[in-house]
């Protein structure tokens, strides 16, 4: 069963007098448990696609079915509830709240769960998610006391805390060094393998896209190619490291 189904998705923006077509008709199905890497240069429309997939934006035209439900034209509040329950976001800049402890950062999505979740349950679930990321000892650390990799792991814990069926990762390794990037990719692969969570990864780095089970290349708002991929093992060394070794 496909968790995501896009049919003729179009998105146009008005930029001054110009009309920009960010998405020019995208039709796509993503099945549950896939690890889809969407690649493309900047301006290709991959970010717009991710915003629509994340229910942060609505398409101008076309249909978006998420878990069998048409969400293309839902009102804002219902989209908020869908983001809350079904989608976990991982961002390039981590987007952790400063001067807020790790566990409180993880709790954020639980604050907006309806019906309202009691504080004790929020804390318990957030701690569980942090523990899954191996950060239980750092629960009371502020983001500036954590390394980049740890910060991204807190962000992943936050994305997972409401047990979503879909994780949208927007350039999650953009701010990380190679070693940490691989670590993060391993976590995403494990989530897919162990929990069957569908992962959509947006990246412009082919190396990172290679960790997916399917690679979709986007250009000018259209799908250029859509190929299954044998995911690269996170046990392999990254090309940069090979080069370093070679030298």
């Amino acid at each position: 069963m496909s968790i995501i189904s896009l049919q003729g998705l179009k998105k146009t923006y008005k930029l001054g007098d110009n009309i920009v077509q960010a998405l020019a008709g995208v039709t796509l199905d993503i099945a549950q448990g896939e690890f889809v890497a969407i690649t493309g240069p900047s301006g290709s429309g991959k970010s717009t696609m991710m915003h629509i997939l994340g229910c942060l934006d609505r398409p101008t035209e076309g249909k978006y079915m998420l878990n069998g439900k048409d969400v293309s034209s839902l009102p804002r509040d219902e989209l908020a509830d869908i983001r809350n329950k079904q989608i976990g976001f991982v961002f390039q800049g981590f987007n952790l709240l400063p001067r807020t402890t790790a566990v409180e950062n993880v709790e954020v999505p639980l604050l907006y769960t309806r019906p309202v979740m009691p504080a004790a349950e929020r804390r318990e679930r957030a701690m569980k998610a942090l523990t899954a990321m191996g950060l239980q000892d750092r629960y009371d650390h502020h983001p500036n006391q954590l390394s980049g990799g740890q910060q991204q792991r807190v962000a992943i814990a936050r994305a997972l805390v409401n047990e979503p069926t879909l994780i949208l990762a927007d350039e999650p390794t953009g701010n990380l060094d190679t070693k940490t990037s691989i670590e993060v990719m391993r976590i995403l692969q494990e989530l897919r393998e162990e929990k069957g969570i569908t992962i959509v990864l947006i990246t412009h780095e082919p190396d990172i896209a290679a960790y997916g089970t399917r690679i979709i290349a986007v250009r000018d708002g259209k799908i250029l190619s859509d190929e299954p991929n044998t995911p690269r093992s996170t046990l392999e060394m990254a090309p940069e490291q090979i080069m370093v070794t070679a030298n």
Partner: protein, 444 residues
């Protein structure tokens, strides 16, 4: 929406504590505004309460007619002197006043002496007042315990302090007897009247005191007007009646100006005083002040309503002044809060984006910022409350102005603070809630 209140308040406090100086400066307007509101109410209600107390205890409706004329004067100041103390008033005078002057509710003759009273073995020196039963009504005594004596009876009413002195504190002397000179009176009531020296006086029917003192005339007539504010008019009418009866010229010279104008003929042999004049001159012991007041033309036309009006006016002026300070600082404080909240929304755009991505609805975001604004204003309000308490005490103490701070006033001040936060927080909160999450997440 409200279930997240504790979380939102905690978030607000945390974000406010991150920038303490900024928070404090933002709250300054609120602090001053609330302090001004509180001080204003404290001074206003304090003044009003004291005026009301004055009006209540002084008995605004009373007019006194004394025999004799104590006007001071002499050739040096060009004012004719009064005739001094004399027994010039009669019961017939009183009856004439009663029948000829309109608007009198109660009227009582009065004469007094100071002598010793004996209860068993206890002896005390006290003032004895001979009055009619209507005296009790004129002063609105609440006789607890007991009742007013009957006319021309051998009954007496004693003041509370004297009763305490003679029979023990808080005792009930009703039914007991007391000896005044060679007459025995049965005590029928105790008055705790606040006015004048009622507390230390024994009241007996005036006929008994007349016979004891061998007097035909009376010293004083106490008149209670039907309506407050009529005292001065009644006083004037009483003067006319008495001048006619006593054969004195109309408009006896009293003041320097009228003496110069030569309008007077002979001085009155009585004095008419309203309660207001008495209240005003009470406590002025310096001869100069007493002279000035006693000779002030038309002083007895000042009634307590006018006095109350004057005081009210003064407190109104003060209130208006403070209200404008309060109003301006609350508006400025509110704008300050709005300003800083708008800055905060801009600074925290990414946070808003993240919250929206995590499933926060627009109303959740709006609520968070609204609560932050209200927290800011209420915190400022609390500080202002403390400041206002100190300020009103200080002003009350330095200007000898009565202050009263009620819980209602404090509640009002805090309510205003919260309302300001709410009103000026709405716009920034709305701005935050309408942020496009995509733009919000993109902001660096």
């Amino acid at each position: 929406m409200f279930a997240l209140m504790p979380v939102n308040i905690r978030l607000a406090l945390r974000s406010l504590s991150r920038n303490r100086l900024r928070t404090l400066l933002t709250m300054l307007g609120m602090i001053i505004g609330v302090a001004a509101v509180l001080t204003m109410v404290a001074l206003g209600t304090g003044a009003r309460a004291s005026v009301e107390g004055e009006v209540g205890s002084a008995g605004t409706k009373l007019v006194f007619v004394h025999s004799g004329n104590y006007i001071r004067g002499g050739a040096s100041v060009g004012i004719e002197e009064g005739s001094g103390g004399a027994d010039t008033l009669t019961l017939a005078d009183m009856n004439a006043i009663k029948s000829e002057v309109q608007g009198i509710k109660f009227i009582s003759p009065g004469l007094s002496t100071r002598t010793s009273v004996t209860v068993g073995a206890t002896k005390a020196f006290a003032k004895i007042e001979g009055v009619a039963p209507a005296y009790s009504d004129a002063y609105s005594w609440d006789l607890k315990p007991g009742k007013m004596f009957e006319d021309n009876s051998s009954q007496a009413v004693v003041g509370r302090a004297l009763a305490d002195q003679l029979f023990g504190k808080g005792s009930n002397p009703v039914g007991k007897s007391m000896q005044i000179r060679d007459q025995v009176f049965e005590i029928v009531g105790v008055t705790s009247g606040e006015s004048e020296d009622h507390k230390d006086t024994v009241f007996v029917p005036y006929q008994k005191l007349q016979s004891a003192l061998g007097m035909q005339n009376i010293k004083e007539i106490v008149i209670a007007a039907d309506k407050a504010g009529e005292a001065s008019r009644i006083g004037e009418d009483v003067k006319k009646v008495l001048r006619k009866r006593h054969g004195q010229g109309n408009g006896a010279a009293k003041s320097y100006l009228s003496a110069q104008a030569g309008s007077g003929t002979s001085p009155d042999d009585f004095t008419v005083e309203t309660q207001a004049a008495q209240a005003l001159t009470k406590g002025l012991y310096t001869p100069a002040a007493a002279f000035a007041l006693a000779n002030l033309p038309k002083l007895d036309e000042v009634n307590l309503e006018e006095m109350a009006d004057t005081l009210d006016h003064a407190s109104d002026t003060m209130t208006a002044l403070l209200a404008s300070i309060a109003g301006v600082s609350l508006i400025v404080g509110g704008i300050g809060i709005m300003n800083i909240m708008l800055v905060s929304v801009t600074e925290r755009t990414r946070e808003i984006g993240l919250r929206v991505a995590s499933g926060a609805r627009s109303s959740d975001v709006a609520m968070q910022f609204l609560i932050e604004a209200v927290t800011l204003s209420v915190l400022g309000g609390l500080i202002g409350l403390v400041l206002g308490l100190v300020a009103s005490r200080l002003i009350g103490w330095s200007l000898a102005w009565p202050v009263s701070v009620s819980f209602a006033a404090m509640g009002l001040a805090m309510g205003i603070a919260a309302a300001v936060g709410l009103v000026f927080g709405i716009y920034p909160a709305r701005r935050a809630s309408l942020l496009d999450p995509i733009d919000a997440l993109r902001t660096e």
